[in-house]
């Protein structure tokens, strides 16, 4: 029989996590519960759904901090996120559809760190930091270092994801996002990406460009970031497109082809610099 625990505090949660590292950590269940009736029964469930300390959006002077238990629905409609971190709100709106957005959480996306996790390129482009906690204390990990391979992360067996810290882009930073999925909604991404383009007048001073569904994990495209730095914006799109050649090695799968993903990724990245 599966054990079940609904901690009342983060502290209780970390204690339980340390005591039962094999238990399933469950929030909205939109990933872990797929075909649950045919999955092995978990030894126990550590239920973080609606744990108060993980469900918050805090607007600070230089960052917005989003609790791991925040749902995509809450992210999408939050005025400060729509205002300052629009790509995250747009990504949230394209995750599944209403029912999935009501249950899927930021912590779940980060925890799984699937290559097709729709918020993850946004976290990379916005240079997010992930805050985790355990009985040993809190620590933070830049998201670009957090995901270490196909659905592999730096999260230790006794740790829980607490929040994502997203620094506010400067007023001269342009941010953008696009998802290309299997269909208009309720779709798995074939290619998606986000960018933060730092501008000084018409000059690109720097950029963070991230893509999903083109590698074993969500990735930054440093080739592009290096190529566009210092260029006039008008030349950046072509330079970005050129730098994309050979930068990614996507795969064929049941949803799309490597050729398609490579071309569309190129188009998307180039478009980030023109639209």
């Amino acid at each position: 029989m599966t054990s079940y625990l609904r901690p009342r505090s983060l502290e209780e949660a970390t204690v339980a996590r340390a005591a039962y590292p094999d238990w399933m950590v469950l929030a909205g269940g939109t990933d872990l519960m797929v075909n649950a009736n045919h999955k092995p029964t978990p030894e126990g469930i550590l239920d973080l759904w609606r744990l108060g300390e993980l469900g918050f959006i805090r607007v600070e002077d230089t960052a917005i901090v989003i609790g791991a238990g925040t749902t995509w629905h809450e992210v999408e409609r939050h005025p400060a996120i729509r205002d300052k971190l629009l790509p995250l709100a747009l990504a949230a709106r394209e995750i599944g559809a209403l029912q999935i957005q009501a249950r899927g959480t930021l912590g779940g996306n980060v925890g799984t760190s699937s290559p097709v996790g729709d918020s993850l390129p946004v976290l990379l482009a916005l240079d997010a930091t992930i805050e985790v906690a355990s009985v040993r204390g809190h620590r933070t990990i830049p998201y670009h270092a957090y995901c270490t391979g196909y659905r592999k992360t730096q999260l230790a067996a006794d740790e829980l994801i607490v929040a994502a810290h997203l620094p506010l882009p400067s007023p001269t930073t342009r941010t953008t996002w696009r998802k290309v999925g299997t269909r208009r909604a309720q779709s798995i991404s074939k290619v998606m990406g986000a960018a933060a383009i730092m501008l000084d007048g018409d000059t690109v001073t720097g950029a963070r460009v991230a893509l999903g569904a083109v590698a074993d994990r969500p990735i930054r495209i440093t080739e592009v970031e290096l190529a566009v730095a210092g260029l006039p914006l008008a030349q950046a799109a072509d330079a970005a497109r050129a730098a994309m050649r050979g930068a990614i090695k996507p795969i064929d799968d049941v949803r799309s082809t490597a050729d398609y993903r490579r071309d569309v990724a190129e188009n998307l990245v180039a478009r980030f610099f023109t639209s």
Binding site: A97, V180, T182, R183, R184, R255, D263, R271, T274
Partner: protein
């Protein structure tokens, strides 16, 4: 006072089952109370071609908790009766495995979880044999799967010539020859209720009662009589509320019925099976993939001189319904166009894919795609307006089809083309920019098509479907037919037809749930025949009952009394019933040997306009607009007919741009709803539907078929629109973003 006829034929009365469905009270198979029923699960081959050597049961598993059945447990003949007896219910040891989802053994258990757990403890020993997955390999007979040539069925239709030399003479004088090869992909029906069936034996195992989700109770009945070795009275098949079919519940339910009845007999209790979505997608039938070669000779004035078509379908591992699907495919292949010399050849071949089968349109959407792509190419080659070209070449009353059928009544050509012309509006601007800044290309495509209603050729005569209208002993009006409502609204439509014939309100009509013990065999619920053929029987039955009641009322001093009152008085003396059997309309002659004559008693006619935009960053095709004008003869319930047309239209649009079955080594690689996608609310455009009514004199109120026709045309219209947008021909489905990218790269 007699209640007025609240909803006669031609009015949009709400569905009679509407409230039950919106409140969740409608009970589908898996909702029925069956507290003691066990759950069945199926051991499948997982090998595409081989010989079953052994079935091994893990000794570590406690088999006493479950019941296991194999081919040895089949009470009668181990065959799923369809056209030929080639498909077994369960493969026996020593016999061939023909595809990866071939049922080998069955398990029943008190819980679903235990049944599925037990599956994991069965190991099959199968000797592998060489496989065939493509039409070309099948035709080359790299391995013989069916007889010596792998051809399940072939057809040859000749019009206006006697031999191939004369056909080529028809091409000799051509000013222009349009020629192309067209491919259409397999398609999943994706009814939202998966296949579901339950069986129970009663009367000391003498009688088997089967209830489930199905289109054709008497198909299941026929198959179970042989499989169970029982006569007609000892097998009772009842349709439960059915959550969609679209052809997918025409033949496969017999397989489930076989499995639950075998298990129920062995388990000595009710057993039910409800497929998981992945199993349903992987194992059950889909639309036949099809390759069509089309060659068309045109003179300098733009008249068609000759058409030569070769249709090849992948039938999958067993013959099942493939010959009939191919038949409809070839009969529609030349399209609704005037042409004096026509040759249509068709073959359906064996492969090691799970059998392909019925899906709305039944072969016609495949060949319609080919001929309407050809017409687009002709319009481009001649620089003619595509709709005007179709109007110029279209069949009208007095013309003959490719089977030399002379068309008379109910030809809606001018009405449907005219309807599209009058609402078309300005051509979309070719170049644009989407809201997100992405450049797009826009285009418009049209198509014109027809669909034969009812069974092919003499099929309806052979079927001799029957339906009954009765006054019961408690004075109620009943309609009894085996036509199942799987969402089309047929029970509402029957109620309206009967109410109109009797002159009573719709609420006074009870349409009996199809059960082989309670209703006559009206033929299967397929082929756009329910309203036109069975509805006509109901219409005649209702009018006869009315006459008899009126006569009786006159003889018994009740003349002029309300019919409901008369029915109550007459019913009390004993049931009054009128059974009506199908009789072909005059002038229907068909020669099966030469495939000439009246292929169908009447045709529905359709025209479609599609506007698309193509995203040049993502290569996605968006359907911006879709208008369908369809001649249905008479819309018994316009709102229900509109729903039918819109549903079929979206299935066609989905097939055109995003649906697909990805086979890998004979296995469906995308067997889940995440990857086997169908359109969502967000993918569907606002659909514009124009009902055209060119009455069919032998249909109820003038009605002819509507179920399938909307599926036939839109895919070609989409391809034509994409060609218009990009200047590149798209001759294969789906026109996926991957296909658009590849085509743009090549150009």
């Amino acid at each position: 006072m007699e209640r007025p006829v609240a909803a006669p034929v031609g009015t949009s009365v709400p569905r009679v089952d509407g409230v039950a469905k919106v409140t969740g009270r409608a009970r589908y198979l898996d909702d029925l109370d069956a507290p003691n029923a066990w759950h069945g699960a199926t051991v499948r081959s997982k090998v595409p071609h081989g010989v079953l050597e052994a079935i091994e049961f893990d000794p570590a598993f406690d088999w006493s908790r479950v019941v296991v059945a194999t081919a040895d447990d089949v009470p009668g003949e181990n065959v799923i009766t369809m056209l030929e007896d080639d498909q077994p219910a369960l493969v026996k040891i020593g016999a061939s495995v023909m595809h990866v989802d071939e049922p080998i053994a069955l398990i029943a258990a008190p819980t679903r979880a235990l049944a599925f757990e037990a599956l994991k403890h069965v190991t099959l020993k199968i000797t592998h044999l060489p496989t065939v997955f493509t039409i070309d390999d099948s035709l080359a007979v790299t391995t013989a799967l069916y007889k010596t040539d792998n051809v399940f069925k072939k057809f040859l239709i000749r019009k206006g010539h006697d031999d191939d030399a004369q056909l080529e003479a028809g091409f000799a004088g051509a000013a222009l020859v349009i020629e192309g090869s067209y491919y259409t992909s397999p398609q999943e029906q994706m009814y939202i209720e998966t296949q579901a069936m339950m069986a129970e034996w009663r009367d000391d195992d003498a009688r088997c009662f089967i209830v489930g989700s199905m289109q054709c109770p008497f198909y299941v009945h026929k198959a179970m009589k042989r499989l169970l070795g029982l006569d007609a009275d000892h097998v009772v098949i009842t349709q439960s509320v059915t959550g969609g079919g679209f052809g997918g519940k025409e033949e496969y339910p017999s397989m489930l019925a076989a499995h639950v009845s075998i298990l129920a007999k062995k388990a000595k209790r009710a057993v039910k099976m409800v497929y998981d979505r992945d199993e349903d997608i992987a194992a059950t039938t889909k639309r036949h993939p099809c390759r069509t070669h089309h060659r068309m000779a045109v003179d300098a004035a733009g008249k068609i001189l000759a058409i030569d078509i070769d249709v090849i379908m992948d039938g999958g591992a067993y013959l099942t319904l493939s010959p009939v699907v191919l038949s409809r495919g070839v009969l529609h292949a030349a399209g609704p166009y005037k042409c004096p010399v026509t040759r249509v050849r068709g073959r359906v071949v064996a492969t090691n894919h799970p059998p392909h089968g019925a899906f709305r349109g039944f072969g016609a959407p495949q060949t319609t795609f080919a001929y309407e792509r050809q017409m687009q190419k002709l319009a481009i080659a001649r620089g003619e307006d595509p709709l005007a070209l179709r109007s110029r070449l279209a069949l009208r009353s007095g013309d003959t089809t490719s089977t030399s059928q002379l068309l008379g009544f109910s030809v809606g050509t001018d009405e449907v083309i005219g309807a599209i012309q009058s609402c078309a509006g300005p051509w979309p601007e070719p170049d644009g920019v989407a809201a997100n800044g992405t450049p797009i290309k826009r285009g418009r495509g049209v198509c014109f098509y027809f669909h034969g209603a009812g069974f092919t050729g003499s099929g309806e005569q052979r079927l001799a479907g029957r339906a009954e209208v009765a006054v019961t002993t408690d004075g109620r009006f009943e309609v009894r037919s085996s036509s199942s409502d799987m969402g089309q609204g047929s029970i509402t439509m029957f109620a309206q037809i009967a109410a109109t014939g009797l002159g009573v309100g719709v609420g006074a009509i009870h349409v009996v749930d199809p059960s082989t013990s309670k209703v006559p065999d009206s033929g299967p619920t397929v082929a756009s025949r329910t309203c036109m053929v069975v509805g006509s029987l109901v219409d005649q039955g209702a009018r006869k009952v009315k006459q008899r009641l009126d006569a009786w009322a006159g003889e018994n001093g009740m003349a002029g009394r309300p019919l409901l009152e008369i029915a109550k008085a007459r019913g009390a003396l004993g049931e009054l019933a009128e059974m009506v059997q199908y009789a072909p309309p005059p002038g229907i002659e068909w020669d099966d040997a030469t495939y000439t004559g009246s292929a169908y008693p009447v045709y529905g006619w359709g025209a479609c306009l599609v506007d698309v935009s193509v995203d040049l960053d993502s290569y996605e095709v968006t359907i911006d607009r879709c208008v369908q004008a369809i001649d249905v003869g008479k819309a018994i319930n316009p709102n229900i007919v509109k729903g039918q047309i819109e549903g079929g239209t979206l299935q066609a649009l989905g097939w055109a741009v995003l649906e697909n079955i990805v086979y890998k080594d004979g296995r469906v690689a995308n067997a889940n709803m995440t990857n086997c996608i169908v359109p969502t609310f967000a993918d569907a455009p606002e659909l514009e539907t124009i009902l055209v009514e060119c009455p069919y004199p032998f249909g109820p109120g003038g009605a002819k078929g509507v179920g399938e026709i909307p599926m036939d045309g839109p895919a070609a219209a989409v391809a034509n629109a994409v060609e218009n947008a990009l200047g590149i021909a798209f001759d294969s489905l789906p026109i996926s973003p991957e296909a658009v990218r590849a085509a743009l790269r090549r150009s």
